[in-house]
Symmetry: C2
Subunit: 364 residues, 2 copies
């Protein structure tokens, strides 16, 4: 997508062939900084310290990390060390493991002198495939936005609501939930996005708002509490969110608070869609609320908040009383009955086992 008119991905090989560049997402929205990664350790740090985040982007960054490692040591020891180091950065990330296993499978059989070029090519494929999946999600979802636009008065924008950041910053490009927004925007459909700030980590306020603003997409940041009121008053035509894990029956595990928006959408007859690349479907699980364990994170994400002061310093401030306990559940599960449809790279389907199997018959 674009940053003030220039096209970017979230990760790309530098022209000198010696480095990979990323956007340091920890410094957004206040500071746009491109960081050059030249070593395995650079790549591991970028993932561990969340300079890059979002499952698809983590996978691509790990793949490029292996490619950087091959430049220093393309032997079997170097390959194993690279995979082990990168895997340890975010142990629960599914895409991380998948990307590393793919890199190892591609490189291990090759003679050492061929590994650098093959690693570069394989990392580029992983990145390109992510972009292709997301572009396809965008195309299918844009048709839904176009249909909503046709139900409005000419020129009146379609109002979308999204939660958290499932935008291009979470992927290599396009995003998942936001791919349809970008695709519709490219098609000239008038639209406006309500951006939930998404407490406690504020990915909506800090990342989604930033990427929409710099691409030029009209949007407004709101507190997470506001969506229900907007839907009661006809101010939301369509919700689109992402997902970290989707059950074979269409239950959606996504950032905490997604369920509350789905309830409000259901109560007000607002369509609620989920954009998802098919690798996030967990075909082994049927009941999301009962079967998906919900990560509890450090309470300081709730009690403390980081931002920029009027004179430009970055400060972290505490907002709760000393001694008040805090709980920090990171995700919730939206039951399939509240989901209007799933937007996958193969098309849109109902949030049901039958619906998913219609698009992915090989899973039947």
């Amino acid at each position: 997508m674009r940053i003030d008119g220039s096209a970017y991905r979230t990760i790309w090989p530098e022209e000198d062939g010696r480095a990979v560049a990323i956007i340091d997402q920890t410094r957004l929205p206040h500071d746009f900084a491109v960081v050059r990664l030249t070593t395995l350790e650079d790549a591991a740090h970028a993932i561990r310290a969340m300079l890059v985040r979002g499952a698809p982007l983590i996978g691509a960054a790990a793949a490029y990390g292996v490619a950087l490692a091959m430049r220093a040591d393309s032997g079997d020891t170097g390959l194993e060390r690279a995979c082990a180091t990168l895997l340890a950065t975010r142990p629960t990330a599914v895409n991380l493991r998948w990307a590393l296993e793919r890199m190892r499978a591609r490189l291990a059989p090759l003679p050492e002198p061929e590994r650098v070029a093959a690693a570069d090519a394989e990392a580029a494929s992983i990145a390109d495939e992510d972009v292709a999946i997301n572009r396809a999600i965008g195309g299918h979802g844009a048709a839904l936005i176009r249909a909503a636009a046709e139900r409005k008065r000419p020129g009146e924008p379609v109002n979308l609501l999204t939660h958290c950041n499932a935008g291009w910053l979470a992927t290599v490009d396009w995003g998942t939930a936001l791919a349809p927004v970008y695709a519709a925007f490219e098609q000239g459909i008038p639209l406006h996005v309500w951006v939930d700030e998404t407490r406690p980590r504020n990915q909506g306020a800090s990342l989604t708002a930033w990427e929409l603003k710099h691409h030029g997409v009209p949007h407004t940041v709101i507190a997470d509490n506001v969506g229900g009121h907007l839907m009661q008053h006809g101010q939301v035509d369509l919700c689109i969110v992402g997902t970290d894990r989707t059950t074979a029956t269409g239950d959606v595990c996504n950032k905490i608070g997604t369920y509350l928006k789905a309830l409000a959408a259901h109560d007000n007859g607002v369509p609620f869609y989920v954009g998802l690349p098919s690798p996030t479907i967990d075909w082994t699980i049927a009941d999301g609320v009962r079967q998906i364990p919900i990560e509890e994170r450090d309470g300081r994400e709730v009690s403390e908040l980081t931002g920029r002061t009027a004179d430009g310093r970055i400060e972290t401030v505490r907002v709760t009383p000393d001694g008040s306990p805090v709980a920090n559940f990171a995700f919730d599960v939206t039951p399939a009955r509240l989901v209007t449809g799933l937007i996958t790279e193969r098309g849109v389907c109902p949030a049901t086992r039958q619906g998913l199997l219609g698009l992915f018959p090989e899973r039947g």
Copy 2:
């Protein structure tokens, strides 16, 4: 209620007879500071700058403000000036106007030399009546909490969830939504309160958590996004919230986000109660969603946040990108169909016109 063992109200006359004391609520939760008001201007500033907030407390503060004004000028001009100055501090506050009209009606007929003593007595009555109403709400609501406790295993705490601050800090004492919590706590019923932080102004994290902590009530602060997840997993036995305005049909206008919690409670079979003093009932309105205008406040309440740094400085930080628009709707309306019951000073009733008229037949 108590602050670390000592009983407090939010406003009280000082023993020297020359001042009224308040708690500066703008400095909570990081700093407990009692401020002495000695003049009309002190009182007006305290209301205008929100050192005191919450409709019942604003009313009491205005009444005491008139009493302070009488000390400087007990003539008719002084009385009119006091009422006009105080009324202008928060023009939309219903209790403010009501308290000032009551003070004027009491004082205007009196000879000047009697006005100081009469003003003191009338302000004290207004404060005492608020306390009595809230104590009654507490008693009726505590019975609901006791009933919930009897459905649990012995000793297992009743888990309540509340939104915003409708605690004793918003009133003269006891609070409205929290009065039942304090009453049940005094009765020795084991309980625990989930405190929504309540973005964007964070009244839950800064005020509700502070008052529960200092009174000794077990509680946990959570992001506003969390309540639905907790209810899905049986972690909430009862919701109790306050209200700024209740329709004659039982629709509840309260802090933004209340509606989302009511939806989650309804979806999970969790009782959802509203604590309200009867003066907040607007008997002229039947459809809250259509008829109650929702205040839009300064977007900086969303984009900026104030707290305390690790080394003790109070700083305000920006959390959204420069140039991203922000919207700040302050309230939403929860339709009566989602409300299990209304806890008033006369008892608990269904959130219906019939229910309310059963308790307030004089309004029929």
